[in-house]
Protein backbone atom coordinates (compact mmCIF):
# COMPACT_ATOMS: atom_id res chain seq x y z
CA UNK A 1 0.00 0.00 0.00
CA UNK A 2 1.25 3.46 -0.78
CA UNK A 3 0.67 5.72 2.14
CA UNK A 4 2.42 8.88 0.98
CA UNK A 5 -0.57 10.63 -0.53
CA UNK A 6 -3.30 9.32 1.71
CA UNK A 7 -4.93 11.17 4.56
CA UNK A 8 -4.76 9.14 7.75
CA UNK A 9 -8.11 8.09 9.23
CA UNK A 10 -6.82 8.13 12.78
CA UNK A 11 -3.66 9.80 13.89
CA UNK A 12 -1.86 9.86 17.24
CA UNK A 13 0.53 12.77 17.73
CA UNK A 14 3.09 12.79 20.57
CA UNK A 15 0.64 11.06 22.88
CA UNK A 16 1.57 10.75 26.55
CA UNK A 17 -0.71 8.94 28.98
CA UNK A 18 0.07 8.85 32.66
CA UNK A 19 -1.74 7.48 35.68
CA UNK A 20 -1.63 9.34 38.95
CA UNK A 21 -1.97 7.81 42.36
CA UNK A 22 -1.50 10.63 44.81
CA UNK A 23 1.99 11.92 44.10
CA UNK A 24 3.10 8.89 42.15
CA UNK A 25 2.88 9.49 38.44
CA UNK A 26 3.26 6.50 36.20
CA UNK A 27 3.88 7.23 32.56
CA UNK A 28 2.20 4.36 30.74
CA UNK A 29 2.65 5.75 27.25
CA UNK A 30 5.26 8.24 26.02
CA UNK A 31 5.65 10.12 22.76
CA UNK A 32 3.52 7.77 20.74
CA UNK A 33 2.80 8.90 17.19
CA UNK A 34 1.44 6.80 14.38
CA UNK A 35 -1.19 6.97 11.69
CA UNK A 36 -3.87 4.50 10.68
CA UNK A 37 -5.28 4.67 7.16
CA UNK A 38 -8.78 3.82 6.06
CA UNK A 39 -9.47 0.16 5.43
CA UNK A 40 -6.27 -1.24 6.87
CA UNK A 41 -5.55 -3.31 9.92
CA UNK A 42 -2.81 -2.03 12.14
CA UNK A 43 -1.56 -4.26 14.89
CA UNK A 44 -0.15 -3.00 18.14
CA UNK A 45 2.18 -5.59 19.63
CA UNK A 46 4.23 -5.65 22.77
CA UNK A 47 4.60 -7.47 26.04
CA UNK A 48 2.21 -7.20 28.99
CA UNK A 49 2.25 -3.77 30.54
CA UNK A 50 3.74 -2.11 27.48
CA UNK A 51 0.78 0.24 27.10
CA UNK A 52 -1.09 -1.42 24.24
CA UNK A 53 -4.48 -1.49 25.93
CA UNK A 54 -3.90 2.00 27.34
CA UNK A 55 -3.49 3.36 23.82
CA UNK A 56 -6.57 1.48 22.64
CA UNK A 57 -8.63 2.87 25.52
CA UNK A 58 -7.32 6.38 24.85
CA UNK A 59 -8.68 6.11 21.31
CA UNK A 60 -12.16 5.17 22.58
CA UNK A 61 -11.80 8.11 24.96
CA UNK A 62 -11.76 6.15 28.20
CA UNK A 63 -8.20 7.08 29.20
CA UNK A 64 -7.44 10.81 29.06
CA UNK A 65 -4.19 11.99 27.46
CA UNK A 66 -1.67 13.95 29.47
CA UNK A 67 0.03 15.31 26.35
CA UNK A 68 -0.44 15.27 22.59
CA UNK A 69 -3.62 14.69 20.65
CA UNK A 70 -5.55 12.10 18.70
CA UNK A 71 -7.24 13.16 15.49
CA UNK A 72 -9.90 11.33 13.54
CA UNK A 73 -10.42 12.40 9.92
CA UNK A 74 -8.39 15.50 10.77
CA UNK A 75 -10.54 16.47 13.74
CA UNK A 76 -9.27 16.30 17.30
CA UNK A 77 -11.08 13.64 19.34
CA UNK A 78 -9.00 13.78 22.54
CA UNK A 79 -9.77 16.06 25.45
CA UNK A 80 -13.06 17.90 25.84
CA UNK A 81 -15.54 17.65 22.99
CA UNK A 82 -18.95 19.11 22.38
CA UNK A 83 -21.82 16.72 23.06
CA UNK A 84 -22.61 16.28 19.37
CA UNK A 85 -18.97 15.59 18.49
CA UNK A 86 -18.69 13.16 21.39
CA UNK A 87 -21.72 11.18 20.24
CA UNK A 88 -20.44 11.12 16.70
CA UNK A 89 -17.05 9.73 17.78
CA UNK A 90 -18.60 7.19 20.12
CA UNK A 91 -20.73 5.80 17.32
CA UNK A 92 -17.95 5.70 14.72
CA UNK A 93 -15.22 4.24 16.93
CA UNK A 94 -16.12 0.98 18.60
CA UNK A 95 -14.22 -1.45 20.76
CA UNK A 96 -14.07 -5.23 21.01
CA UNK A 97 -12.89 -6.44 24.38
CA UNK A 98 -10.40 -9.04 25.44
CA UNK A 99 -12.44 -11.11 27.83
CA UNK A 100 -15.89 -11.94 26.47
CA UNK A 101 -16.95 -13.29 29.86
CA UNK A 102 -16.26 -9.98 31.59
CA UNK A 103 -17.37 -7.59 28.89
CA UNK A 104 -20.96 -8.79 28.53
CA UNK A 105 -23.55 -7.79 31.11
CA UNK A 106 -24.51 -11.09 32.77
CA UNK A 107 -27.98 -9.87 33.74
CA UNK A 108 -29.04 -8.69 30.31
CA UNK A 109 -30.34 -10.77 27.44
CA UNK A 110 -28.36 -11.00 24.23
CA UNK A 111 -31.09 -8.93 22.59
CA UNK A 112 -30.51 -6.04 25.01
CA UNK A 113 -26.73 -6.32 24.75
CA UNK A 114 -26.80 -6.07 20.97
CA UNK A 115 -29.49 -3.38 20.96
CA UNK A 116 -27.75 -1.25 23.60
CA UNK A 117 -25.91 0.94 21.09
CA UNK A 118 -28.98 1.12 18.84
CA UNK A 119 -31.06 2.41 21.74
CA UNK A 120 -28.41 4.98 22.68
CA UNK A 121 -28.30 6.50 19.22
CA UNK A 122 -31.79 5.55 18.19
CA UNK A 123 -30.42 3.88 15.07
CA UNK A 124 -33.76 2.30 14.12
CA UNK A 125 -37.08 3.47 12.78
CA UNK A 126 -39.38 1.33 14.89
CA UNK A 127 -39.33 -1.82 17.02
CA UNK A 128 -39.66 -4.02 13.93
CA UNK A 129 -36.69 -2.36 12.30
CA UNK A 130 -34.61 -2.80 15.45
CA UNK A 131 -35.50 -6.51 15.68
CA UNK A 132 -34.61 -6.94 12.03
CA UNK A 133 -31.23 -5.28 12.54
CA UNK A 134 -30.51 -7.38 15.61
CA UNK A 135 -31.56 -10.61 13.90
CA UNK A 136 -29.52 -9.78 10.81
CA UNK A 137 -26.37 -9.12 12.81
CA UNK A 138 -26.74 -12.21 14.99
CA UNK A 139 -26.97 -14.33 11.87
CA UNK A 140 -24.01 -12.48 10.37
CA UNK A 141 -21.84 -13.54 13.29
CA UNK A 142 -23.04 -17.12 12.93
CA UNK A 143 -25.45 -17.28 15.85
CA UNK A 144 -29.18 -17.97 15.78
CA UNK A 145 -32.12 -15.60 16.38
CA UNK A 146 -33.32 -17.98 19.09
CA UNK A 147 -30.24 -16.97 21.10
CA UNK A 148 -31.58 -13.46 21.57
CA UNK A 149 -33.60 -14.30 24.66
CA UNK A 150 -30.70 -16.04 26.34
CA UNK A 151 -28.15 -14.74 28.83
CA UNK A 152 -24.39 -14.49 28.27
CA UNK A 153 -23.46 -17.22 30.75
CA UNK A 154 -25.28 -19.78 28.59
CA UNK A 155 -22.79 -19.32 25.75
CA UNK A 156 -19.33 -20.65 25.04
CA UNK A 157 -16.37 -18.27 24.93
CA UNK A 158 -16.34 -18.09 21.16
CA UNK A 159 -20.08 -17.46 21.00
CA UNK A 160 -19.81 -14.70 23.59
CA UNK A 161 -17.02 -13.02 21.68
CA UNK A 162 -19.22 -13.11 18.58
CA UNK A 163 -21.96 -11.38 20.58
CA UNK A 164 -19.34 -8.78 21.54
CA UNK A 165 -18.46 -8.33 17.89
CA UNK A 166 -22.13 -8.14 16.90
CA UNK A 167 -22.88 -5.32 19.33
CA UNK A 168 -20.02 -3.23 17.87
CA UNK A 169 -20.74 -4.00 14.23
CA UNK A 170 -24.47 -3.27 14.56
CA UNK A 171 -23.51 0.37 15.23
CA UNK A 172 -21.97 0.47 11.75
CA UNK A 173 -18.67 1.88 12.98
CA UNK A 174 -15.83 3.02 10.73
CA UNK A 175 -13.07 2.13 13.13
CA UNK A 176 -12.78 -0.67 15.66
CA UNK A 177 -10.24 -1.08 18.41
CA UNK A 178 -9.94 -4.82 18.93
CA UNK A 179 -8.24 -5.31 22.28
CA UNK A 180 -6.76 -8.82 22.18
CA UNK A 181 -10.09 -10.20 20.97
CA UNK A 182 -8.86 -13.76 20.75
CA UNK A 183 -6.34 -14.13 23.55
CA UNK A 184 -9.00 -15.33 26.00
CA UNK A 185 -10.37 -17.89 23.56
CA UNK A 186 -9.66 -21.50 22.88
CA UNK A 187 -7.09 -21.98 20.13
CA UNK A 188 -9.58 -23.98 18.07
CA UNK A 189 -11.96 -21.05 17.63
CA UNK A 190 -9.45 -18.22 17.26
CA UNK A 191 -9.40 -18.51 13.48
CA UNK A 192 -13.20 -18.30 13.41
CA UNK A 193 -13.15 -14.93 15.19
CA UNK A 194 -10.29 -13.61 13.06
CA UNK A 195 -12.09 -14.61 9.87
CA UNK A 196 -15.25 -12.96 11.11
CA UNK A 197 -13.35 -9.72 11.71
CA UNK A 198 -11.82 -9.98 8.23
CA UNK A 199 -15.23 -10.67 6.70
CA UNK A 200 -16.69 -7.49 8.19
CA UNK A 201 -13.65 -5.56 7.01
CA UNK A 202 -14.18 -6.77 3.44
CA UNK A 203 -17.94 -6.12 3.55
CA UNK A 204 -18.04 -2.81 5.34
CA UNK A 205 -14.54 -1.40 4.91
CA UNK A 206 -13.94 -1.20 8.65
CA UNK A 207 -10.50 -0.12 9.84
CA UNK A 208 -9.01 -2.05 12.76
CA UNK A 209 -6.49 -1.35 15.41
CA UNK A 210 -5.68 -4.86 16.51
CA UNK A 211 -4.01 -5.16 19.88
CA UNK A 212 -2.19 -8.43 20.40
CA UNK A 213 0.88 -10.09 21.75
CA UNK A 214 0.78 -13.18 19.58
CA UNK A 215 2.89 -12.43 16.54
CA UNK A 216 1.72 -15.34 14.41
CA UNK A 217 -1.86 -14.09 14.74
CA UNK A 218 -0.72 -10.57 13.98
CA UNK A 219 1.05 -11.70 10.82
CA UNK A 220 -2.14 -13.31 9.59
CA UNK A 221 -4.45 -10.36 10.11
CA UNK A 222 -2.51 -7.12 9.86
CA UNK A 223 -1.30 -4.82 7.10
CA UNK A 224 1.09 -2.93 9.31
CA UNK A 225 2.56 -3.57 12.73
CA UNK A 226 3.48 -1.15 15.51
CA UNK A 227 5.89 -2.60 18.07
CA UNK A 228 5.71 -1.00 21.48
CA UNK A 229 7.93 -1.47 24.50
CA UNK A 230 7.44 0.21 27.89
CA UNK A 231 5.12 2.82 26.43
CA UNK A 232 7.38 3.79 23.53
CA UNK A 233 7.14 2.79 19.91
CA UNK A 234 10.18 0.78 18.85
CA UNK A 235 9.37 0.00 15.27
CA UNK A 236 6.60 0.47 12.69
CA UNK A 237 6.56 -1.37 9.38
CA UNK A 238 4.37 -3.25 6.97
CA UNK A 239 3.82 -6.80 8.12
CA UNK A 240 6.09 -8.68 5.73
CA UNK A 241 8.75 -5.96 5.90
CA UNK A 242 8.80 -6.30 9.67
CA UNK A 243 8.91 -10.06 9.66
CA UNK A 244 11.62 -10.19 6.99
CA UNK A 245 13.73 -7.29 8.23
CA UNK A 246 13.24 -6.71 11.93
CA UNK A 247 15.73 -3.99 12.82
CA UNK A 248 15.19 -2.97 16.41
CA UNK A 249 16.65 -5.44 18.91
CA UNK A 250 13.35 -5.57 20.77
CA UNK A 251 11.49 -6.60 17.61
CA UNK A 252 14.18 -9.20 17.01
CA UNK A 253 13.67 -10.60 20.48
CA UNK A 254 9.91 -10.82 19.88
CA UNK A 255 10.49 -12.61 16.57
CA UNK A 256 12.85 -15.10 18.16
CA UNK A 257 10.18 -15.92 20.74
CA UNK A 258 7.66 -17.14 18.14
CA UNK A 259 7.34 -20.88 18.65
CA UNK A 260 8.38 -23.05 15.72
CA UNK A 261 6.12 -26.06 15.17
CA UNK A 262 9.09 -28.37 14.83
CA UNK A 263 10.45 -29.82 18.04
CA UNK A 264 14.00 -30.22 16.75
CA UNK A 265 14.34 -26.66 15.49
CA UNK A 266 12.51 -25.33 18.53
CA UNK A 267 14.96 -27.12 20.82
CA UNK A 268 18.01 -25.83 19.00
CA UNK A 269 16.63 -22.29 18.63
CA UNK A 270 18.51 -19.65 20.54
CA UNK A 271 16.40 -16.92 22.03
CA UNK A 272 17.40 -13.36 21.39
CA UNK A 273 17.21 -11.43 24.65
CA UNK A 274 16.56 -7.71 24.67
CA UNK A 275 18.66 -5.86 27.23
CA UNK A 276 18.06 -2.15 26.71
CA UNK A 277 20.78 -1.03 29.18
CA UNK A 278 23.49 -2.96 27.40
CA UNK A 279 22.31 -2.47 23.84
CA UNK A 280 21.72 1.25 23.70
CA UNK A 281 23.84 4.18 24.76
CA UNK A 282 21.62 7.23 24.79
CA UNK A 283 23.87 9.31 27.08
CA UNK A 284 25.10 11.55 24.28
CA UNK A 285 22.69 11.12 21.42
CA UNK A 286 18.97 11.31 22.04
CA UNK A 287 16.86 8.63 20.33
CA UNK A 288 13.80 9.29 18.20
CA UNK A 289 11.46 7.43 15.86
CA UNK A 290 12.85 7.82 12.32
CA UNK A 291 11.55 6.67 8.94
CA UNK A 292 14.42 4.81 7.33
CA UNK A 293 12.50 4.53 4.07
CA UNK A 294 9.33 2.90 2.75
CA UNK A 295 7.33 3.64 5.87
CA UNK A 296 9.63 1.58 8.07
CA UNK A 297 10.13 3.52 11.30
CA UNK A 298 12.71 2.56 13.92
CA UNK A 299 13.42 4.10 17.29
CA UNK A 300 17.08 4.91 17.87
CA UNK A 301 19.83 7.47 18.16
CA UNK A 302 21.26 8.95 14.90
CA UNK A 303 24.20 6.53 14.91
CA UNK A 304 21.91 3.56 15.52
CA UNK A 305 19.64 4.70 12.69
CA UNK A 306 22.62 4.78 10.34
CA UNK A 307 23.46 1.25 11.41
CA UNK A 308 19.86 0.07 10.87
CA UNK A 309 19.78 1.69 7.42
CA UNK A 310 23.05 -0.02 6.50
CA UNK A 311 21.68 -3.41 7.61
CA UNK A 312 18.36 -2.95 5.83
CA UNK A 313 19.63 -1.66 2.49
CA UNK A 314 22.88 -3.56 2.15
Amino acid sequence: MDYTNKEPLLSLKDVDISFKNGKNVFKAVQDVSFDIYEGETVSLVGESGSGKTTIGRAIVRVNPLSKGEITYRGKRISGKLSKAEDRDVVRKIQMIFQDPAASLNERATIEYIISEGLYNFHLFEDEKDRMQKVEKIIEDVGLLPEHLTRYPHEFSGGQRQRVGIARSIVMEPEFIVADEPISALDVSIRAQILNLLKKFQDEKGITYLFIAHDLSVVRYISDRIVVIYKGRIMEIAETEELFNHPLHPYTKSLMSAIPVPDPIIEKEKSLFVYEPEKMHDYSEEKPSLVDIGGGHFVYGSPSEIEKYKAVRFS
Binding site: M95, Y112, L143, L144, R150, R167
Partner: protein, 326 residues
Protein backbone atom coordinates in the same frame (compact mmCIF):
# COMPACT_ATOMS: atom_id res chain seq x y z
CA UNK B 1 -5.56 -55.66 29.86
CA UNK B 2 -4.62 -59.30 29.52
CA UNK B 3 -7.66 -60.33 27.56
CA UNK B 4 -7.02 -57.90 24.73
CA UNK B 5 -5.60 -59.75 21.80
CA UNK B 6 -2.80 -57.52 20.62
CA UNK B 7 -2.27 -59.56 17.48
CA UNK B 8 -5.76 -59.02 16.17
CA UNK B 9 -5.76 -57.02 12.98
CA UNK B 10 -8.21 -54.16 13.30
CA UNK B 11 -9.20 -52.26 10.26
CA UNK B 12 -9.13 -48.57 11.13
CA UNK B 13 -12.10 -47.89 8.88
CA UNK B 14 -14.23 -50.00 11.16
CA UNK B 15 -13.25 -48.04 14.21
CA UNK B 16 -13.61 -44.52 12.97
CA UNK B 17 -16.03 -42.89 10.66
CA UNK B 18 -16.71 -39.33 9.66
CA UNK B 19 -19.83 -37.73 10.97
CA UNK B 20 -21.53 -34.75 9.43
CA UNK B 21 -20.86 -31.45 11.09
CA UNK B 22 -23.70 -28.98 10.98
CA UNK B 23 -22.48 -25.49 11.94
CA UNK B 24 -25.99 -24.19 12.63
CA UNK B 25 -26.84 -27.22 14.72
CA UNK B 26 -23.65 -26.85 16.75
CA UNK B 27 -24.62 -23.34 17.82
CA UNK B 28 -27.88 -24.47 19.40
CA UNK B 29 -28.20 -24.37 23.13
CA UNK B 30 -30.21 -27.26 24.50
CA UNK B 31 -30.19 -26.17 28.12
CA UNK B 32 -33.60 -24.91 29.29
CA UNK B 33 -34.17 -21.19 29.16
CA UNK B 34 -32.96 -19.26 32.15
CA UNK B 35 -35.15 -16.80 33.94
CA UNK B 36 -33.69 -14.92 36.87
CA UNK B 37 -36.81 -14.51 39.00
CA UNK B 38 -38.14 -18.00 38.33
CA UNK B 39 -34.81 -19.40 39.51
CA UNK B 40 -34.94 -17.17 42.58
CA UNK B 41 -38.29 -18.62 43.61
CA UNK B 42 -37.24 -22.16 42.78
CA UNK B 43 -34.21 -21.92 45.06
CA UNK B 44 -36.19 -20.09 47.74
CA UNK B 45 -38.96 -22.67 47.95
CA UNK B 46 -36.52 -25.56 47.75
CA UNK B 47 -35.70 -24.88 51.38
CA UNK B 48 -38.05 -26.35 54.01
CA UNK B 49 -37.29 -23.51 56.40
CA UNK B 50 -38.77 -21.04 53.89
CA UNK B 51 -42.11 -22.88 53.96
CA UNK B 52 -42.15 -23.16 57.75
CA UNK B 53 -41.33 -19.49 58.17
CA UNK B 54 -43.90 -18.40 55.60
CA UNK B 55 -46.64 -20.34 57.39
CA UNK B 56 -45.58 -18.80 60.72
CA UNK B 57 -45.41 -15.35 59.19
CA UNK B 58 -48.88 -15.65 57.68
CA UNK B 59 -50.23 -16.78 61.07
CA UNK B 60 -48.54 -13.87 62.81
CA UNK B 61 -49.75 -11.40 60.21
CA UNK B 62 -53.31 -12.69 60.55
CA UNK B 63 -53.16 -12.43 64.33
CA UNK B 64 -51.60 -9.00 64.41
CA UNK B 65 -53.46 -7.32 61.54
CA UNK B 66 -56.81 -9.13 61.31
CA UNK B 67 -57.47 -10.12 64.92
CA UNK B 68 -57.33 -6.53 66.37
CA UNK B 69 -60.02 -5.47 63.85
CA UNK B 70 -62.55 -7.86 65.44
CA UNK B 71 -61.16 -7.89 68.96
CA UNK B 72 -59.71 -4.45 69.62
CA UNK B 73 -57.22 -4.11 72.44
CA UNK B 74 -58.56 -1.78 75.12
CA UNK B 75 -55.91 -1.44 77.85
CA UNK B 76 -58.20 0.49 80.17
CA UNK B 77 -61.37 -1.59 79.88
CA UNK B 78 -61.05 -3.03 83.42
CA UNK B 79 -59.21 -0.13 85.02
CA UNK B 80 -62.05 0.29 87.54
CA UNK B 81 -62.01 -3.40 88.49
CA UNK B 82 -58.99 -3.44 90.78
CA UNK B 83 -59.54 -7.15 91.52
CA UNK B 84 -58.73 -7.95 87.89
CA UNK B 85 -55.18 -6.56 88.02
CA UNK B 86 -52.15 -8.88 87.58
CA UNK B 87 -54.14 -12.10 87.24
CA UNK B 88 -52.24 -15.18 86.15
CA UNK B 89 -53.64 -17.02 83.09
CA UNK B 90 -55.41 -19.57 85.27
CA UNK B 91 -56.90 -16.98 87.61
CA UNK B 92 -57.91 -14.69 84.76
CA UNK B 93 -59.73 -17.45 82.89
CA UNK B 94 -61.64 -18.31 86.05
CA UNK B 95 -62.24 -14.66 87.05
CA UNK B 96 -63.77 -13.62 83.76
CA UNK B 97 -65.64 -16.90 83.23
CA UNK B 98 -67.46 -16.20 86.48
CA UNK B 99 -68.47 -12.79 85.10
CA UNK B 100 -69.63 -14.30 81.82
CA UNK B 101 -66.80 -12.73 79.80
CA UNK B 102 -64.59 -15.82 79.52
CA UNK B 103 -62.75 -16.86 76.44
CA UNK B 104 -59.44 -16.99 74.71
CA UNK B 105 -58.96 -13.28 75.45
CA UNK B 106 -57.68 -14.13 78.96
CA UNK B 107 -55.52 -17.10 78.08
CA UNK B 108 -52.37 -15.15 78.93
CA UNK B 109 -53.69 -13.45 82.03
CA UNK B 110 -54.05 -9.75 82.72
CA UNK B 111 -51.68 -6.86 83.14
CA UNK B 112 -51.36 -4.06 85.66
CA UNK B 113 -54.69 -2.46 84.64
CA UNK B 114 -56.62 -5.67 84.12
CA UNK B 115 -55.81 -5.52 80.41
CA UNK B 116 -55.72 -8.64 78.25
CA UNK B 117 -52.14 -9.69 77.60
CA UNK B 118 -53.24 -11.90 74.70
CA UNK B 119 -54.86 -9.06 72.77
CA UNK B 120 -52.08 -6.78 73.88
CA UNK B 121 -49.30 -8.73 72.27
CA UNK B 122 -51.06 -8.84 68.90
CA UNK B 123 -51.81 -5.18 68.93
CA UNK B 124 -48.20 -4.54 69.91
CA UNK B 125 -46.88 -6.90 67.25
CA UNK B 126 -48.84 -4.91 64.67
CA UNK B 127 -47.21 -1.69 65.81
CA UNK B 128 -43.77 -3.28 65.71
CA UNK B 129 -44.34 -4.82 62.26
CA UNK B 130 -45.73 -1.58 60.82
CA UNK B 131 -42.84 0.31 62.30
CA UNK B 132 -40.30 -2.11 60.85
CA UNK B 133 -41.92 -2.15 57.42
CA UNK B 134 -42.30 1.63 57.15
CA UNK B 135 -38.80 2.35 58.47
CA UNK B 136 -37.25 -0.29 56.21
CA UNK B 137 -39.13 1.02 53.17
CA UNK B 138 -38.04 4.61 53.78
CA UNK B 139 -34.45 3.81 54.72
CA UNK B 140 -33.95 1.25 51.97
CA UNK B 141 -35.33 3.51 49.23
CA UNK B 142 -33.28 6.54 50.23
CA UNK B 143 -30.24 4.43 51.11
CA UNK B 144 -30.15 2.48 47.86
CA UNK B 145 -30.75 5.51 45.62
CA UNK B 146 -28.24 7.69 47.44
CA UNK B 147 -25.79 4.78 47.69
CA UNK B 148 -25.96 4.19 43.94
CA UNK B 149 -25.19 7.84 43.17
CA UNK B 150 -22.61 7.95 45.96
CA UNK B 151 -20.75 4.95 44.60
CA UNK B 152 -20.94 6.03 41.00
CA UNK B 153 -19.91 9.66 41.22
CA UNK B 154 -16.45 10.47 42.53
CA UNK B 155 -17.31 14.09 43.36
CA UNK B 156 -20.43 13.12 45.34
CA UNK B 157 -18.31 10.51 47.12
CA UNK B 158 -15.93 13.10 48.58
CA UNK B 159 -18.73 15.28 49.95
CA UNK B 160 -20.84 12.45 51.37
CA UNK B 161 -17.87 10.71 52.97
CA UNK B 162 -17.21 13.79 55.12
CA UNK B 163 -20.88 14.09 56.10
CA UNK B 164 -21.03 10.37 56.81
CA UNK B 165 -17.94 10.49 59.05
CA UNK B 166 -19.53 13.25 61.10
CA UNK B 167 -22.93 11.59 61.45
CA UNK B 168 -21.50 8.13 62.08
CA UNK B 169 -19.57 9.51 65.04
CA UNK B 170 -22.64 10.87 66.83
CA UNK B 171 -23.93 8.08 69.10
CA UNK B 172 -27.18 6.78 67.66
CA UNK B 173 -28.92 6.48 71.02
CA UNK B 174 -28.03 10.06 71.89
CA UNK B 175 -29.46 11.31 68.61
CA UNK B 176 -32.71 9.34 69.00
CA UNK B 177 -33.08 10.45 72.60
CA UNK B 178 -32.67 14.11 71.66
CA UNK B 179 -35.00 13.78 68.68
CA UNK B 180 -37.73 11.98 70.63
CA UNK B 181 -37.37 14.59 73.36
CA UNK B 182 -37.69 17.45 70.86
CA UNK B 183 -40.44 16.15 68.57
CA UNK B 184 -42.37 13.98 70.98
CA UNK B 185 -42.71 10.22 71.17
CA UNK B 186 -45.66 9.35 68.92
CA UNK B 187 -45.62 6.61 66.27
CA UNK B 188 -44.76 8.91 63.37
CA UNK B 189 -42.21 10.98 65.22
CA UNK B 190 -40.52 7.73 66.26
CA UNK B 191 -40.37 6.71 62.60
CA UNK B 192 -38.98 10.13 61.76
CA UNK B 193 -36.28 9.70 64.39
CA UNK B 194 -35.33 6.28 63.04
CA UNK B 195 -35.21 7.35 59.42
CA UNK B 196 -33.70 10.82 59.57
CA UNK B 197 -30.17 9.40 59.58
CA UNK B 198 -30.91 5.67 59.44
CA UNK B 199 -30.52 5.53 55.67
CA UNK B 200 -26.95 6.83 55.86
CA UNK B 201 -25.50 3.53 57.00
CA UNK B 202 -27.36 1.65 54.25
CA UNK B 203 -26.23 4.18 51.66
CA UNK B 204 -22.62 3.80 52.80
CA UNK B 205 -22.77 0.02 52.62
CA UNK B 206 -24.40 0.20 49.21
CA UNK B 207 -21.82 2.70 47.97
CA UNK B 208 -19.06 0.19 48.73
CA UNK B 209 -20.92 -2.49 46.78
CA UNK B 210 -21.37 -0.16 43.81
CA UNK B 211 -17.68 0.77 43.94
CA UNK B 212 -16.75 -2.91 43.69
CA UNK B 213 -18.67 -3.49 40.48
CA UNK B 214 -18.66 0.02 39.00
CA UNK B 215 -15.56 -0.38 36.88
CA UNK B 216 -16.25 -3.87 35.60
CA UNK B 217 -15.53 -4.34 31.93
CA UNK B 218 -19.15 -4.56 30.78
CA UNK B 219 -19.73 -1.08 32.17
CA UNK B 220 -16.72 0.13 30.20
CA UNK B 221 -18.23 -1.57 27.17
CA UNK B 222 -21.51 0.25 27.79
CA UNK B 223 -19.65 3.55 27.95
CA UNK B 224 -18.01 2.75 24.62
CA UNK B 225 -21.49 2.16 23.21
CA UNK B 226 -22.54 5.61 24.44
CA UNK B 227 -24.91 4.39 27.16
CA UNK B 228 -25.94 7.25 29.47
CA UNK B 229 -24.92 7.01 33.13
CA UNK B 230 -28.49 6.63 34.36
CA UNK B 231 -28.96 3.50 32.25
CA UNK B 232 -25.56 2.12 33.25
CA UNK B 233 -26.65 2.42 36.88
CA UNK B 234 -30.07 0.87 36.30
CA UNK B 235 -29.05 -1.87 33.83
CA UNK B 236 -25.41 -2.67 34.63
CA UNK B 237 -25.16 -2.06 38.35
CA UNK B 238 -28.55 -2.43 40.05
CA UNK B 239 -29.39 -5.93 38.73
CA UNK B 240 -26.11 -7.20 40.21
CA UNK B 241 -27.00 -5.76 43.58
CA UNK B 242 -30.44 -7.40 43.96
CA UNK B 243 -29.04 -9.95 46.37
CA UNK B 244 -27.17 -7.21 48.25
CA UNK B 245 -30.40 -5.23 48.60
CA UNK B 246 -32.29 -8.28 49.84
CA UNK B 247 -29.47 -9.09 52.27
CA UNK B 248 -29.58 -5.58 53.73
CA UNK B 249 -33.37 -5.82 53.97
CA UNK B 250 -33.04 -9.17 55.74
CA UNK B 251 -30.95 -7.60 58.48
CA UNK B 252 -32.71 -4.22 58.57
CA UNK B 253 -36.33 -5.42 59.00
CA UNK B 254 -35.78 -7.43 62.20
CA UNK B 255 -33.34 -4.83 63.51
CA UNK B 256 -36.11 -2.21 63.67
CA UNK B 257 -38.22 -4.52 65.78
CA UNK B 258 -35.32 -5.07 68.18
CA UNK B 259 -34.53 -1.37 68.11
CA UNK B 260 -38.08 -0.40 69.07
CA UNK B 261 -38.04 -2.95 71.88
CA UNK B 262 -34.70 -1.68 73.09
CA UNK B 263 -35.53 2.03 72.84
CA UNK B 264 -38.94 1.60 74.49
CA UNK B 265 -37.29 -0.49 77.17
CA UNK B 266 -34.83 2.27 78.07
CA UNK B 267 -37.69 4.74 77.98
CA UNK B 268 -37.08 6.76 74.82
CA UNK B 269 -39.34 4.81 72.51
CA UNK B 270 -43.02 5.06 71.73
CA UNK B 271 -45.40 6.96 73.97
CA UNK B 272 -47.59 5.20 76.55
CA UNK B 273 -50.77 5.35 74.46
CA UNK B 274 -49.29 3.22 71.67
CA UNK B 275 -49.21 -0.49 72.38
CA UNK B 276 -45.83 -1.87 71.43
CA UNK B 277 -43.76 -4.88 72.34
CA UNK B 278 -41.05 -2.67 73.78
CA UNK B 279 -43.48 -0.85 76.05
CA UNK B 280 -45.07 -4.10 77.26
CA UNK B 281 -41.66 -5.46 78.16
CA UNK B 282 -40.68 -2.22 79.85
CA UNK B 283 -43.85 -2.13 81.92
CA UNK B 284 -43.42 -5.74 83.04
CA UNK B 285 -39.68 -5.66 83.62
CA UNK B 286 -39.83 -5.05 87.35
CA UNK B 287 -42.24 -7.92 87.83
CA UNK B 288 -40.95 -10.57 85.46
CA UNK B 289 -40.44 -13.08 88.25
CA UNK B 290 -43.76 -12.49 89.98
CA UNK B 291 -46.02 -11.66 87.02
CA UNK B 292 -44.12 -13.74 84.46
CA UNK B 293 -47.14 -13.92 82.10
CA UNK B 294 -46.87 -10.19 81.50
CA UNK B 295 -43.19 -10.29 80.60
CA UNK B 296 -42.54 -13.43 78.55
CA UNK B 297 -45.29 -13.27 75.86
CA UNK B 298 -44.10 -9.96 74.33
CA UNK B 299 -40.46 -11.15 74.56
CA UNK B 300 -41.43 -14.38 72.84
CA UNK B 301 -43.36 -12.62 70.06
CA UNK B 302 -40.55 -10.13 69.49
CA UNK B 303 -38.05 -12.98 69.26
CA UNK B 304 -40.24 -15.06 66.93
CA UNK B 305 -40.91 -12.06 64.65
CA UNK B 306 -37.22 -11.27 64.44
CA UNK B 307 -36.30 -14.87 63.71
CA UNK B 308 -38.98 -15.28 61.02
CA UNK B 309 -37.98 -12.09 59.23
CA UNK B 310 -34.31 -12.90 59.52
CA UNK B 311 -34.55 -16.47 58.24
CA UNK B 312 -36.91 -15.52 55.39
CA UNK B 313 -34.63 -12.63 54.47
CA UNK B 314 -31.54 -14.80 54.50
CA UNK B 315 -33.21 -17.50 52.40
CA UNK B 316 -34.36 -14.89 49.90
CA UNK B 317 -30.92 -13.30 49.88
CA UNK B 318 -29.38 -16.69 49.12
CA UNK B 319 -31.94 -17.32 46.40
CA UNK B 320 -31.32 -13.97 44.71
CA UNK B 321 -27.62 -14.78 44.40
CA UNK B 322 -27.39 -16.35 40.94
CA UNK B 323 -24.50 -18.55 42.01
CA UNK B 324 -27.06 -20.71 43.81
CA UNK B 325 -29.17 -21.16 40.67
CA UNK B 326 -27.13 -23.96 39.14
Amino acid sequence: MADIDTNAVVNEDELFRFIDHDTIESEKIIAPRYSYWRSVFRVFFRKKSSWVMIVLLVLLLLCSFVLPIFCPYRPNENVTLSTSFHLSPKEAMQYFAERGQGGIKWILGTGSTGNSIFYGIWSSARTSLLLAIICAAINMTIGVVVGAVWGYSKSVDQVLLVIYSIIANVPFILMITVLVYVIGSGFWSFIFALTITGWFGIAYFFRTQVLIIRDREYSLASRCLGTPTSRIVSKNIMPFLTSVIVTILATELPSYISMEVFLSYIGVGLSANVASLGRMIQEAQTAFLTYWWEFWPPVFIAAVLTIILYVLGQNLADATDPRTHM
